[in-house]
């Protein structure tokens, strides 16, 4: 492994920072694209908040409430700093899905019938269904961006779809079902040239230290905490300040208002205008801790570690008959989706489970993408910083035996 993985020692020690592997020493966790495991420091940070600073934020004038508000707002500015954007451009949400829904309502409801949104065929349902619901509400037209035979965005077709009615391009940073990395830079430049905004679904990007919204020049960027080593119940939506300034609120309640009377209410500036009610305070603090933890890893080392493991995996697969890697020829995040000629993916996953090897099987909330490949389900291996060569080797052995049993 050493050529691909200069710091495999460092990364094999990482595993010990994750309490779940203390509980399940034999666990081979290959489902990080669904949710990542959490390092101890994240769990500690959340707990410390409850034990030392717990109070509601923004409204209290006593010491504990001030400490809680500072901790919460420091979490926001810490995350903003890591993403290279301003604090008041970040909205805390429940997760990536809620962030996209927020845009689909708050921004989307101003669209007119006939306006067009281009949605790629690589997308997770979270970046499809909110646009379909918007289409129903407003008569907006959803145009799917097709894929070429390799499973990559069909760039000429995309360019042809961009037109004067195109208002938004909704595109993932990495396809959760196949790992495919779309040509974001070209796509975003082309969209902007056509006068359209771009929403990037960063759910599978942040965890692998992909470019943030600033580097991408994305107009909207959404991701989930639980997929980047953070807690459940928290996510982030970035939106450019000039956009946010003009967006109406979506949800109403405390925190997001300036004055309320039955005659009419006025709203607070962003980001508060978009954070109605008590926010996920402890979770925001946990997420900031997770992102700082991730940022402390050397990006190049992390990349070498994760792609090195993926290379070892896919090299090993060549020895097994009837195994197809979906979208194999596209540049991919450390996600490998498998289809088996002679076995049902569910049955394979079941056999792996008997050896504590956790993989995801099914359609991965990406029905259109699976339909593109003409398969009804696939088995997905997704990698994270804590995975080891041992994980890959155990997976390969178990997969080989499962395919034999099921043949």
């Amino acid at each position: 492994m050493s050529p691909q993985c200069p710091n495999s020692d460092l990364f094999s020690q990482l595993r010990s920072e994750f309490p779940i592997f203390g509980t399940h020493p034999e666990l081979v966790y290959l489902d990080s694209a669904a949710t990542a495991q959490k390092p101890r420091c994240v769990l500690d940070a959340e707990r410390r908040f409850y034990e030392e600073h717990n109070a509601n934020v923004h409204r209290g004038s006593y010491a504990l409430a001030i400490a809680a508000t500072d901790a919460f707002e420091n979490a926001r500015s810490s995350i903003a700093g890591l993403l290279g954007v301003a604090s008041d451009e970040l909205i805390f949400t429940r997760g990536c899905t809620e962030g996209i829904n927020l845009v689909a309502h708050s921004w989307g409801d101003s669209l007119a019938a006939g306006d067009e949104i281009l949605v790629s065929t690589l997308e997770h349902h979270a970046n499809i269904v909110p646009w379909q619901l918007l289409a129903q509400r407003r008569g907006v037209v959803i145009r799917p961006i097709p894929l070429n035979a390799a499973g990559q965005i069909d760039l000429p077709a995309y360019q042809a779809l961009l037109g004067p009615r195109t208002r938004l391009v909704a595109i993932t940073q990495a396809a959760n079902a196949t790992g495919t990395l779309p040509p974001l830079a070209e796509m975003i430049a082309a969209a902007h040239a056509a006068g359209a905004l771009v929403l990037v679904d960063g759910a599978q990007g942040v965890v692998h230290r992909a470019d943030g919204p600033a580097a991408l020049a994305a107009d909207f960027y959404a991701f989930s905490g639980h997929k980047v080593y953070g807690p459940t119940g928290i996510g982030v939506l970035y939106a450019r300040r000039e956009l946010l300034a003009n967006l109406p609120p979506w949800q109403g309640g405390g925190e997001m208002i300036e004055r309320v009377s039955f005659a009419g209410s006025s709203f607070a500036p962003a980001p508060q205008r978009f954070e109605a009610g008590t926010p996920p305070i402890a979770q925001a603090i946990g997420l900031a801790t997770a992102m700082r933890w991730l940022a402390a890893l050397d990006a190049a080392d992390l990349h070498a570690h994760e792609t090195g493991l993926q290379h070892r995996l896919e090299t090993g697969l060549l020895d097994l008959p009837g195994v197809q890697v979906l979208a194999a020829a596209t540049p991919r995040a450390p996600i490998t989706a498998l289809h088996f000629a002679g076995a049902h993916a569910y049955d394979v996953a079941h056999c792996l489970d008997a050896r504590q090897i956790a993989v995801r099987v099914g359609q991965h909330c990406a029905h259109p993408l699976l339909a593109h490949f003409g398969v009804s389900s696939s088995l997905r291996v997704s990698l994270a910083a804590y995975n080891t060569t041992d994980d890959i080797d155990r997976f390969l052995v178990a997969l080989g035996e499962a395919l034999e049993l099921l043949a």
Binding site: H344, Y346, D347, H350, A354, R355, V361, G362, L405, L406
Partner: protein, 142 residues
Amino acid sequence: MNPSYPHHPFGERIDKAALQTRLEAAQGWEAKNRLLVQLGRELPDWPATLRDDAHLVSGCESRVWLHGEYVDGQLRLYADSDSRIVKGLLALVLTAYCGQTAEMVARFDAEAWLQTLGLQRFVSASRGNGLRAIIRHIREYR
């Protein structure tokens, strides 16, 4: 009897006691898996023409086709799946229900039985959906 559904041995030649013995001998999850695959092989595939939407049970992770009817008060039950392990599970279900009266079908607690066989994993809230959908279907035959 409808000749188009392939004949199978479950609930006739193979009864609950026989299966219980085999499952108890299979220690551990991996061994149980092997046994399910083996049982699945003993359940013949349906002809492609019958694997249609009318027979499909929705709510399962893999596709499951089911047919049941009462003949002389006894349930005749046929099942198929594109998953070998689910076919194994179906073999168990067929064994439990085939040849039973409607009253026994209504009363039999298949989930509890699978638990006693060490197959609780299939009965949990998340996995159970498929199994529960199958049992609900079976109870609706008249």
